[in-house]
């Protein structure tokens, strides 16, 4: 059996890569993919602790996180399509208006 902290440290590394992507990139879709990466790192933590404490609740949480990530991806990408129709770019620096 692989110790739990191996998975926790892998999850921390993936989460940090996601944070780095959000902070340094300005392409909206890439930022969105970095967020998905962070969500997956958190899912890995949930499952690591679910095995550690012999609890099914962590797994149920991962299930809900996946469902909500799907909804988030659909709405977020629709926002980017709308932004691209108006501004011809998905650079997040260009998106400085809530309404146009």
């Amino acid at each position: 059996m692989i110790p739990t902290h191996y998975f926790l440290i892998l999850s921390a590394i993936l989460f940090t890569i996601g944070v780095c992507g959000v902070l340094t990139r300005r392409n909206g879709i890439t930022i969105f993919m970095s967020i998905e990466l962070m969500v997956n790192a958190v899912n890995l933590t949930f499952l690591a602790y679910a095995r550690q404490f012999h609890q099914l609740h962590g797994m149920i949480f991962v299930f809900f996180v996946m469902a909500i990530a799907a909804a988030e991806a659909a709405v977020g990408l629709a926002i980017f399509i709308s932004l691209f129709h108006h501004r011809e770019t998905i650079d997040v620096d260009e998106a400085n208006l809530m309404h146009w």
């Binding site: 059996m1 692989i2 110790p3 739990t4 902290h5 191996y6 926790l8 440290i9 892998l10 921390a12 590394i13 993936l14 989460f15 940090t16 890569i17 944070v19 780095c20 902070l23 340094t24 990139r25 300005r26 392409n27 879709i29 890439t30 969105f32 993919m33 970095s34 998905e36 990466l37 997956n40 899912n43 890995l44 499952l47 679910a50 095995r51 550690q52 404490f53 099914l56 609740h57 797994m59 149920i60 299930f63 809900f64 996946m66 469902a67 909500i68 990530a69 799907a70 909804a71 991806a73 659909a74 709405v75 990408l77 629709a78 926002i79 399509i81 709308s82 129709h85 108006h86 998905i90």
Partner: protein, 175 residues
């Protein structure tokens, strides 16, 4: 021993593909790298005795969500969009900040190195997860279906609407 080899190989794959997502300029390459990273994470889920969620990870994440990403990237024809004017200060602060964050979180998690693994079998197959989901978590499960419906309506409203000028031109032409 074999478990450790599988863990380190797929951990390396997950990290390398994740780095490709944030470092590569072409979003299509980024999206496909993210699919690779998700597959490696599915292997981690199998190692964590969660085969049901590993399958779900491949079908929902690598299958559905990433196809949606690729579809939007190709629909907007973003392969050739470059990030022209990069800001050195923002880049520097971003890399430094995330490196400090990474050191802090790994330092914090290293405390759990002494944690003992529990004894006894842990039954978390599809049947066990399903029974838990449809008994204790039936209300949140139904709420998720309403949330997904709201997301469908929201996505249609947001992406189906044309800019005001185009819409005005269309209504003039229509009658």
């Amino acid at each position: 021993m074999l478990e450790f080899i599988i863990f380190f190989v797929f951990a390396a794959i997950a990290v390398i593909f994740a780095l490709a997502v944030i470092l590569h300029r072409n979003p299509v390459v980024g999206a496909l790298s993210l699919v690779g990273s998700f597959f490696a994470l599915a292997v981690m889920y199998v190692l964590l005795e969660a085969p049901f969620l590993a399958v779900l990870q491949i079908i929902v994440y690598a299958g559905a969500i990433m196809v949606l990403f690729l579809f939007v990237i190709m629909l907007l024809n973003l392969q050739h969009v470059r990030e022209e004017h990069t800001r050195p200060v923002q880049q520097f602060l971003g890399y430094t900040g995330s490196a400090l964050f990474g050191i802090a979180i790994v330092y914090y998690l290293a405390k759990y190195a002494a944690m003992q693994l529990p004894n006894g079998p842990f039954n978390a197959d599809a049947r066990a997860v399903g029974v838990e989901l449809f008994q204790a978590y039936i209300f949140p499960f139904e709420m998720v279906s309403i949330l997904l419906l709201a997301a469908i309506v929201g996505a249609l409203l947001l992406s189906g609407r044309l800019p005001a000028k185009t819409r005005a031109a269309e209504t003039e032409v229509a009658p």
